[in-house]
Symmetry: C2
Subunit: 454 residues, 2 copies
Amino acid sequence: MKKYLLAAALLVNATMSYAQNADSIMMRRISDEVLLHSTSYSNLKVLCKEIGHRLSGTPAAAKAVAWGKEAMQVAGADTVWLQPVKVPHWVRGKESLKIKTAHNNTYHLQLLSIGNTVGTDGKVLSAQVVMVNDIEAFKKLPKKQVRGKIIFFNYRFKQDLVNPFEGYGDAGFYRWTAPNWASAKGAAGVIIRSVSTGIDDFPHTGSMRYADTVQPIPAVAIGNMGADKLEADCKKGIVTAMLSSECKMLADEQSYNVIGEIKGTEQPEKIVLVGGHLDSWDIGEGAHDDGAGCVQSIEVIRAMKALGIKPRYTVRAVLFMNEENGLKGGLAYGDSAKARKETHLFAIETDAGGFSPRGIGLAMSNDKRKQVQQYRNLFLPYGVYDFDGEEGGADISPLRRQGVPVAGLLPDPQRYFDLHHTANDVFEQISHRELKMGAATLTQIVYLISKHGL
Amino acid sequence: MKKYLLAAALLVNATMSYAQNADSIMMRRISDEVLLHSTSYSNLKVLCKEIGHRLSGTPAAAKAVAWGKEAMQVAGADTVWLQPVKVPHWVRGKESLKIKTAHNNTYHLQLLSIGNTVGTDGKVLSAQVVMVNDIEAFKKLPKKQVRGKIIFFNYRFKQDLVNPFEGYGDAGFYRWTAPNWASAKGAAGVIIRSVSTGIDDFPHTGSMRYADTVQPIPAVAIGNMGADKLEADCKKGIVTAMLSSECKMLADEQSYNVIGEIKGTEQPEKIVLVGGHLDSWDIGEGAHDDGAGCVQSIEVIRAMKALGIKPRYTVRAVLFMNEENGLKGGLAYGDSAKARKETHLFAIETDAGGFSPRGIGLAMSNDKRKQVQQYRNLFLPYGVYDFDGEEGGADISPLRRQGVPVAGLLPDPQRYFDLHHTANDVFEQISHRELKMGAATLTQIVYLISKHGL
């Protein structure tokens, strides 16, 4: 009996290593194909330089949709279609922040209104600045020290964290939520030190959401150097800020997710999804956030087609609309998947920048997690070693809530929060080889799961 | 007996995990200290922007030596000294490359003479261009097709290799050696497609060495875009190149390695070395190559001092002179170590760019290799996972030949050969967080080995 078991075990082993060997060979072919012939870098150049930034609801976002549709077709997708999404349309307009110090010196600070906030209708909001270093200090302030003031949340990004994404989760509170705390206590406006690892003066915008219970007040971000200057002046005496801004929310606009797919040969009703988001903030070029993810997702289609890979399950690349200030694309996709009773075997998002890949975060049941982790050795030759994280992505979070196993590409995280949501997130910040390495990793994992299932 | 063995095993395990835990805590403190307080980025700014490029033998190299000495002192080294090194002094002068096509169109190509080569004494060397795609094709050329011609080695960097350092080893032959092959067959000059992963027109210089048996001939590098253009024209008909250059080798100059150390508390005669090279090519700012390695090595001293770490063995940081075009600093250091009968327990070089660290290459006996590899788990929280490579570094290769266990920091390799030896290797290409992550890794490995030995 033992002998038979042994023989059976050897057979299983031999079969497994044959399968792994075939996979290993195809993964090398994918890597070669992407590194030598990828169109991701040239595609990204067009998206960044010919269209540029593309906030939801803008004409540029509409152009990006048309671009994405064509790029999917050129990549060789069997089917390409647009999925309707109603998106918010926030506009920035002019904005200015002038500071008057206790010694009556005045200067302007670089600023960006935080996305989705109200402005001052172009009028000057003049008020005393009250600086606090964190929310605990703010909570201790008596109401009368807040009422009518402009609160300066001078919270620093934790540079000692090895992974800046943890620092983003931490400091992001001051952009996303803290303005609500200020408003609830009667503040007239908010200035935040940008959620930024940069040693520079780029302000970082990003999204915020007013709580239903508070009066919307203007909220703006200033760069780290500007914040240092303002901090120094606040320590010296009473500082006044004169803020004017024109930002406001317009009526919703019609927009689209762009979807391209390769039909599965055996069970086409089961879907393996790879995606990024097509919208960006209204500054810079959205190169890393998330032009990179879009062109990488398109590259998955192109590379699989170029190599003649015929996936067992359907491979779908999705360019989501409105990740930045509403997530309407991700929500619409999730609703549609539910309504159409689509089965998603796996969904992976790439929205952490076009940097060298280091791993794949896995947010799924332990069983499926282990199944994916078995591929780790296949990825090691490509420098992709970390399968221990639990990251997914915002656009696929509605799928995750429906029980779909989701994942996120984990590129090297060190540079992202220098650039994220700034005027400096431009094509020149992209390394063609890093971008392609990420595209190869995505193609490899999509290949594996569209062949073996999950 | 078995019981005692078990007890002993448990004791060893407990002791080991206690030691690993203490090490793990100190490694976190090192990481925090470097990420929050490192002076590596500000030091590098001074080196790049106030001194700039610093080829051996130049006044800028002398300034860099003075800078390095002071920076070591400011970092808190117990002792700082200069180790004399005689270095070559190669100068570039003016250079120009004009192309005339078969259709009598003319244009200039961006070029850089290859380091250490002869020039044309400022005269115009005009000759027909003979293009070959690789050395095999060149070998097949009859002598009469080479004699008096300018050979264009149109060899492409292998972009499909996941690690571009392998591609550098491969394509580097055409810069380092191929001009000798051309000269041996009577060529008048050589043009090479740069050893470059860049999708741009930056020429990459670098070193070459004439064989004793051949007549030195001028050899220049052109950028990838220029090479594409020249390739296209060579395919269309007879192309003439008009090359003029003034580069030449002057008399040797006196220079120095800069050395700083923290004296070991128990066995100060045993040395743990960390180093990079202070010289750079005569273009750009030598930011990644190897200003980064210099400021990281200085940071090891600063961080250990700031944390009050008292190493059992002596920790020595060395800024080597003349890595680029002679290795005289590394050779002088090796000779001195031998003459003074110094014992080096371990030497690590950082000369692969200031990018996010991924691993440490180990060139040493299997026993010692395994000993270092036991630290792998301690490094994983910092994204440093790869201890399987066998890289050391050029400057410490003389020590390696004396039997010293050597190692090399392995940063992410994807961007290096876009920038390496170009005018684009400037401070702006450095990410402060990536630079510091590398400095932390170096401090951590030096801490471990200067405590536990090897």
